[in-house]
């Protein structure tokens, strides 16, 4: 399959690995992260991406204390298949 390049950056929060501390939400410059109304199996209201306007700056990635709760895909990220992870 041919590789495609991501045209718009975006951020993914893994709900089960988020402890709901809210630091990413406080840190995000374009303010596109919010607490979800639902909570995960650990009982935390996890953060989620509103779905638009992520700039791929990576600020949330470094603000997040969890190793893999946040993944930031920048513009130009190469991927295969229909969607990014």
């Amino acid at each position: 399959m041919q590789k495609k390049k991501l045209e718009k950056p975006f951020v993914k929060v893994v709900p089960e690995l988020c402890k709901g501390c809210g630091i990413c939400i406080e840190a995000c410059p374009p303010e596109v992260l919010k607490f979800h109304d639902k909570f995960n199996t650990k009982g935390y209201h996890f953060a989620y991406y509103l779905g638009d306007d992520c700039r791929g700056c990576g600020v949330c990635f470094y603000a997040c204390p969890e190793p893999e709760a946040i993944i930031v895909y920048k513009k130009g990220y190469e991927y295969e298949g229909e969607e990014v992870a």
Binding site: G58, Y62, P65, P67
Partner: protein
């Protein structure tokens, strides 16, 4: 090209198998804990500089005691406060390794003050990350050396009073006053700019070590929302508004541009030179060949025990030296009370064909007991089919076990007849060799030349070796 994705650094384990929790993906830290950020910065730096394969991460005591759950590097967990001492040993033994000492404020600035001060003063080429959250977080928020003035903790319920509890210890300032450190900076985790600054400091401190520049310490003001009883976001504001007033940020020392890279010269002593230096090789050109003996006696792990003054330690040392002469791998570990005479003494001896992993002998295959308490104490721990040698002149009980070999020898009486009761130890030693066949008699006599400091006693000890060896040999099972 910069990476187009920011995700978990590869220097973390994929899953945290060492964590006994059922959840192998989520670290044990509380929500909003600064350890996670610093861990991430370190792991990312190790990725970028391709250092993970030669990094040894030293966990302290505190919440980050479980650093070894997460970092896919070498890992050692040190006793409380001792991480810089452990780091020193590792770095010197493995100069090519990247050694990271990761410590909290209770660990580094209280119980470990001496270790960090002297490691820094020696300019050890290690990297120290000092996580300062102003309290003992793991144990429930007690006052730490770094607790702020007037700060309320569980042990300073009315606030820290400098008149009573002293002032906060400012580690970055302290360490920067020393001559040797090359890089000391205090950073803080509270907003994007300062997290970025902290990330850069972490990278630099690791790079310095890889470049052989010397000792680097980064103090990181880090949130402990649980210990501070705050919301994670509020705890960031507290760092900015309160903590930073007493712990000013900045680069306290940076000599990295001026210093020359330094790599300690490799120790060039040969095995022979080392043996000479520590006086374990007598002046002899003679070669001592290994003997042939029954397979069940191979690789003995020996415990020698008795009163202080019976020559217990010397007996063990002579056995170890005989092993050296015959080219075995040996170790000798003494264990004794403060008394020169009369207390209990024992030593652990390994004489092995294979390398000695630990000098400690917990399950001896051979026990040489020179008094009754020693026999009573150690008889139960001798392995099945092991060998117990005991001095019947001083021990009025018998070995109770029937699953071990026993050699009963009236060593002290035999020594008395020779004219010096203090040669009983050499009689017992030689009896062990004669019984098992593990050493040549000539080898044992050679060890006497260094073991016996008073030369006029040499002859009588040689006789003792003869007597003991013959005795042991006469009892050897056919």
């Amino acid at each position: 090209m910069a990476s187009k994705v920011l995700q978990k650094p590869a220097s973390f384990y994929d899953t945290y198998e060492r964590n006994p929790s059922t959840d192998k993906k989520m670290p044990h830290y509380c929500p909003g804990c600064g350890h996670g950020n610093v861990h991430k910065f370190i792991a990312e730096a190790l990725d970028n500089y391709e250092l993970a394969d030669r990094t040894i991460f030293i966990s302290p005591v505190g919440c980050s005691v479980f650093g070894y759950y997460y970092f896919d590097t070498g890992n050692i967990q040190a006793a409380h406060g001792r991480a810089p001492a452990v780091a020193t040993g590792i770095k010197r033994a493995h100069p090519h390794s990247i050694v990271i000492s990761y410590q909290g404020d209770g660990d580094l600035a209280a119980i470990g003050t001496a270790e960090i001060l002297h490691a820094a003063n020696r300019g050890e080429n290690i990297t120290v990350f000092f996580i300062n959250n102003a309290i003992y977080g793991m144990t429930g928020g007690q006052m730490a050396p770094t607790t702020l003035e007037t700060q309320k903790t569980t042990t300073t319920p009315t606030g820290r009073n400098a008149r009573n509890e002293g002032y906060p210890v400012k580690v970055a300032e302290l360490i920067s006053q020393l001559e040797a450190p090359v890089y000391v900076e205090r950073v803080a985790l509270f907003d994007n700019k300062h997290r970025s600054r902290a990330r850069m400091a972490v990278r630099k401190a690791i790079k310095n070590q890889a470049d052989h520049l010397g000792f680097s310490l980064v103090e990181i003001l880090s949130p402990c929302p649980s210990g501070w009883k705050m919301d994670p976001v509020d705890s960031l504001h507290w760092i900015k508004d309160v903590m930073m007033n007493q712990f000013p940020l900045g680069v306290y020392k940076d000599n990295t541009k001026e210093v020359e890279p330094y790599e300690a010269p490799k120790m060039q002593l040969s095995d022979e030179e080392i043996k000479q230096a520590i006086e374990i090789i007598p002046d002899t050109e003679k070669e001592f060949k290994k003997t042939e003996y029954a397979e069940r006696y191979a690789n003995p792990e020996i415990k020698v025990a008795g009163f202080g003054g019976q020559g217990v330690l010397l007996l063990g040392a002579a056995l170890a030296q005989a092993g050296l002469l015959e080219n075995y791998n040996v170790s000798w570990l003494p264990s004794y009370g403060p008394e020169m005479r009369g207390g209990t003494a024992n030593c652990h001896v390994n004489v092995r064909n294979i390398p000695v992993g630990s000098p400690v002998v917990n399950d001896p295959t051979v026990l040489i007991a020179l008094n009754r308490p020693s026999l009573e104490k150690f008889e139960p721990v001798v392995v099945k089919n092991g060998l117990i040698i005991y001095d019947t002149s001083l021990i009025d009980i018998e070995v109770q076990r029937d699953d071990v070999e026993v050699l009963a020898i009236p060593a002290t009486e035999m020594a008395d007849k020779l004219g010096n009761t203090r040669t009983a130890n050499m009689i017992a030693m030689a009896a062990f060799a004669g019984y098992t066949g593990i050493f040549n008699r000539e080898t044992l006599k050679e060890t006497l030349k260094t073991a016996i400091k008073r030369k006029k006693l040499l002859a009588i000890n040689e006789k003792a070796v003869d007597e003991g060896y013959e005795f042991g040999k006469s009892k050897r099972p056919s």
